[in-house]
Amino acid sequence: MDGVALLTITVLAVFVGFEVVSKVTSTLHTPLMSGANAIHGIILIGAIIVAGQAEDTVTLVVALVAVVLATANLVGGFVVTDRMLEMFRGRRKAPAGVGEEGER
């Protein structure tokens, strides 16, 4: 893909990022940080590609370390976020009004 197309995508992603997060209530700031943290674990894709192209042992070992680290970020990030959000379930009453607050 050419540079201008990638730049276009990058700029659009910045706006989507700002737009999506600007509405989050402070109640959910911690899960949001953790969720965003999980998402950058997708660097795993890059780690898999470099490990798959490794031609010598040193490169392979370093790349596999990157795979382990990226997997820990990705898997751990989503699991920990899920656990946090699990806490918001099981109200004694239905969380009336919660939806409106979030959508504001």
């Binding site: 402070s26 109640t27 898999i48 370390v65 990705l74 751990g76 990030g77 918001f88």
Partner: protein, 457 residues
Amino acid sequence: MILLDPTWTAVLYLIAAVCFILALKGLSSPKTARRGNLIGAAGALLAVVTVFLSSKLENIPWILAAIAVGSAIAAPVARRVQMTQMPQLVAMFNGVGGGAAALVALLELPHAGDAWVRLAIAFTLFIGAVSFAGSMVTFAKLQELMTTRPIVFPGLAVLTVLVATLALAAGAVVVVAGPAWAAIALAVIGLASGILLVLPVGGADVPIVISLLNAFTGLAVAASGLVLGNVLLVVAGTLVGASGTILTRAMAAAMGRSVQGILFGAFRGGSTAGSTVASDRPVRSSSAADIAVLLGYAQKVVLVPGYGLAVAQGQHTIAELQAALEERGIEVSYAIHPVAGRMPGHMNVLLAEADVPYESLVEMDRANPGFRTTDVALVVGANDVVNPAAKTTPGSPIHGMPILEVGDARQVVFLKRSMRPGFAGIENELLFDPKTTLLFGDAKASLTELLAAVKGL
């Protein structure tokens, strides 16, 4: 083995990118948050399957083994961690992500065709290393492996400028010619920079720095996407970079601080360093039985939970106390400071764990006017977030931070471990106020005593 042509690959990556956007979007409401997170995880899985089906890869058994090892380490830790230790775990996961990005960039360097690609590599390498080392220091601070206070030493400012200059020089060499020694030097300088960045940050500001480093890792991942020509990495990394930046600013605003002030405030000296010495001024302390009488015959009680409650795992006990008081017809609510706990929103997570209904939790802006009609404000393990010094003492490290104005209540009760100052290391005038009563001890033990006493009224 290539089973997917480039068009299908691009479409699947696009779907994964949309899943990530939905994951962040879902976090705008507690109702949709969990589903959003699962959609995000599904997107990640789709992307990993896609990369295996669309690229020519060697060493596949090794790669699968490494993925298994990474999962086997992270999943049980993430499952078992206590809610109170969440911030340091998030810091740890962020750090390893940054480290992975730096390693990927390092390995791509020999394949870099032109200077633009080497610029993206230098950026990823440096920022990834900063994020890795910085996150490890924040982990050590939150885990209390080292002091949580700002660490400043003579020459720190000079050293920081020196390291930044070296980074620019090594970065320039990488961009122009791309020798391996310069790349490794840049990575080492990045590690040093990460440590120097976080050392001067103290106590309550540490979570904000985690959020900032989270945004950094996002940017490093986005840059590595440019290196590999992978749109998904560009989109996911940029999303995290942008959302992390907003979150960092929102968190700093909740504490009345600027991001620059947090990072570089300690360089100015003096003001962020508080005292750890306990005061010997007289205070009024009382027994659980007396305080139970105070609570049991009030009409309106506001509970103000803080980090001390979380550390003592007292969230279930305070929920029981709330129920016991409500049974007596008392109006009970929780006043939640945005940064109560160790991260913004952390206290909501902890109380949600104890099944406290969402509608009992009152955010600071709505809680503050209510204190004037409150009979008893019960502060459990919170100090800095109710400290009037934030409003009255211009030189104080927490000056400007919005606080819960518990001083407006008719009576104030503090459950405290000791007279030692809180996280920010400053004394709280409110403790010496004539209408304040203290109950010393572990938050959970004190709450259990109070609960028994209230039930016995």
